[in-house]
């Protein structure tokens, strides 16, 4: 048992009052118990071009590699002497100025895979590039620390691998009402009512009954609780905006959910990247700012951490179609108001020291970010979830 866990357990026995050296730890635990920490994941699908998102606008190599794609210096939103944001990210700059954004540069993993599906699998399962896991990292978190399917909710129609565990899966819903309506047929209620789970829980049929009953009660709980949640902001009218709106409503209703999973797709910009990426980043930044403001007005932002990633970045050099091909390392955004290291967490990748294919060499393994979030935010043992020990970072 590590110190944190020990403290947590011992609080229950109130024995902590007599252990002065733990007083500091106790304060931390107390705040954990008062607040209900949640994690929101935003997945940018398709491979967002990190270099045109967080731009090394003083680097000649950047402009040399991208004569048609590079963002001109006069359009950049400056962050510091080296780095600036894509012009569509003004709302994100406001979060940055308020100390609510931490930009972790150059995040990736060893032996990067440039296939969307495979690389997304790697990010979702936290596996090595050459191993296959059939459980997701959040699914394994559920296995150990989740109580119900609704402990992790994906705002979508079907469940991603990320939220599938060995014993417990999260639940997916775009609209709690639709899910509830689908599950609430009196027929299902009635066949499950008297079901005696004791005999059959080991068998496949027993598992079906158990999952059915859980699904019904989860769907009902989510729907009925969510009705009490409100949005105090007007969201941009697009699919991503709606996902965040639903997420905020669920959070503001006090739903006992630890993880929310959302996604924004379309970043696979092989052709004519400028317009597409500009439009998507605008959607992303406006959505997230609205979301943060909504949570703030409902006093739930302080207990929420938002993590944004993409399955890979893109090649340094532009291609022949004014686009970019699949690459490797990328920036990860962490949004919250309890950030330990605000602003830019680490420096940009080298543009001169590239790999054989002409891609960035990663510096930070994404799993160290997961480990940090699990350990320092969700307050659980990251090693048992990630199946390996990773050194935590200090952004929270």
């Amino acid at each position: 048992m590590d110190r944190r866990k020990f403290i947590k357990h011992s609080t229950l026995a109130s024995s902590l009052f007599f252990v002065p050296s733990f007083v500091k730890g106790f304060e931390q635990v107390a705040s954990n118990r008062l607040g209900y920490k949640r994690l929101v994941i935003i997945q940018l699908s398709g491979g967002n071009d990190g270099l045109n998102t967080v731009v090394p606008y003083r680097n000649d190599l950047y402009y040399k590699a991208r004569p048609k794609l590079a963002i001109p210096q006069n359009k950049i939103i400056n962050l510091n002497d080296e780095l600036g944001l894509h012009p569509s990210l003004t709302p994100l700059k406001r979060l940055y100025d308020n100390g609510c954004l931490s930009i972790i540069n150059n995040v990736g993993y060893p032996n990067p895979v440039r296939s969307h599906f495979r690389s997304m699998d790697v990010w979702q399962t936290a596996s090595d590039a050459n191993t296959f896991s059939q459980t997701g990292w959040l699914g394994r978190y559920l296995d150990r620390y989740g109580k119900h399917p609704y402990s992790a909710i994906e705002i979508d129609d079907s469940l991603s691998l990320a939220l599938k565990g060995e014993h417990l899966n999260g639940i997916a819903t775009q609209n709690p009402k639709v899910l509830y309506n689908l599950s609430k047929d009196p027929y299902f209620k009635n066949i499950g009512t008297h079901y005696n789970d004791a005999h059959l829980s080991e068998h496949n049929l027993g598992y079906l009954y158990k999952t059915m009953i859980e699904a019904q009660s989860s769907a009902q709980y989510i729907f009925e609780t969510s009705k009490t949640g409100t949005n105090k902001m007007e969201y941009p009218n697009n699919k991503f905006g709606n996902q965040l709106k639903t997420t905020a409503q669920l959070i503001n209703s006090g739903l006992e959910t630890k993880v929310f999973y959302t996604s924004l797709g379309g970043f696979d910009t092989h052709v004519n990247q400028l317009n597409t990426q500009g439009r998507l980043l605008k959607m992303y930044a406006e959505g997230i700012e609205t979301f943060v403001n909504d949570l703030k007005l409902n006093n739930t932002f302080k207990d929420t951490l938002i993590l944004t990633f993409s399955e890979f970045g893109r090649r340094v050099e532009q291609n022949a179609n004014v686009g970019t091909d699949h690459g490797t390392a990328n920036a990860v955004f962490v949004v919250g108001d309890q950030l330990k290291k605000q602003g830019i967490y680490n420096g940009m990748a080298s543009l001169s020291d590239l790999d054989d294919i002409g891609d960035l060499k990663f510096e930070i393994d994404f799993r160290t970010i997961y480990a940090t979030v699990l350990n320092k935010w969700l307050d659980v043992d990251d090693e048992s979830v990630l199946k390996r020990s990773f050194t935590s970072l200090d952004f929270i």
């Binding site: 469940l159 899910l179 496949n204 699904a215």
Partner: protein, 462 residues
Amino acid sequence: MIRLMKRKHIQHLFWRVGFGILPEANDTLSKKSKKAIVNQIFKDSQYVIPLKIDTSEIDKFLNSDQVMVAENRKKLQKLSREKTIDLNVSWINRLKHSEAILREKMTLFWANVFVCEDNNVVYIQQFNNTLRQHALGHFGDFVKAISKEAAMTKYLNTKQNRKQSPNENFARELMELFTLGEGHYTEEDIKESARAFTGYSHNLKGEFVFRNRTHDIGNKTFFGKTGNFTGDDIIDIILEEKQCAKYICEKVYRYFVNDTINENHVNEMVAVFYGDYDIEKLMRFVLLSDWFYDEENMGSKIKSPIEFLVGMNTIVPFTFQNKKQLLYLQKQLGQMLLHPPNVAGWKGGKSWIDSNTVVLRLKLPSLILNNAYISKAKNNASDFKETKKAAFKKQYGRFIKTVANWEVFNTNFDEVTMEAMDEYILNCDIQKEARVYLNTLDKGSKQEYCIQLMSLPEYQMC
């Protein structure tokens, strides 16, 4: 004396080698012996009828002698994406209608052993037909053919595997997922065997091309043997390992018999399979064994989404008005054919089921066949039922538009009594508590009762 087969056993057999059986066919077969029925199943599967959709527009590009320009490549990709939807639908139609039920079920099985995906529909169609061709053949020939498929050399990067810069991806998965299982080889074995698969490539049409220039002709040491092995040699050496026969027999057992391995049964299978590697012989042994019909094996598996969809169609044939809905449902249920989650394939068993899929599965028979309506309590007037059905349709049925053909059902269940219906539609006993509730319901017509039965968790079992 000939031992006739019980109806229940016939149903079990046809669920495992296919997608269920209708009452009339079952009654006909119940006058035959197990051996006769199993023989007939193999006879029906002796010919290979390739699955072929119209790809002429794409063939034009692939048969051209000219180097493809970027613009055409894009066109090809777009066409290919559209045609892959057609291939998916054709495959499902094949599963619904083929006489060669065992060959088709085995093709589906092998597609989840030799997992592959490609964005070129011509290559993936060819791959699919290679699965079909070898589905009941010699396992060694099968693996060799797979190793040379265009789609596979792309999927596991054998194409990029060159003498100067070896790529180990195929060699690793060949052993880890296709033949031996994790822990039965060393990293050194992977390194050495990867060298034997150098030079594998394909031309634009999708034919195998061996590039001498990039093949490593040097000596390789693999599983204690040394020689200038080719890829085929490596596969032959793998087949000498008894573990290979065991690994495949376990996969067959889990798919066709029970999620939980019975060591004794698998050992019997290995004794039949090892050496010959004759897949047909192995399957004949399994289907004729007594234990295949053990109580604990019948109705014990959770249907895969495809078994669920196609099996429903066996009882009440239906078609989607918009083919994209069929794909959408496959995705929602967690198994879209031609789009495996990764090279390890679908995990199957309990992992098919989560909160979302269980709700959808239970609701789907009524959505597809009965305007989303399942049941009414006793004593309700029948006109009320119609209004209620309309209301259900309005609420849930907007999306799914199907045409159900109840004629087949009506003819087949004409002679079946209401009391016996569950035995034909379900593969396991109904839970006592569910049975009590079911008895309180007005069964209405046989059609209504069929929907009620299909909406039980028990219907998910096969």
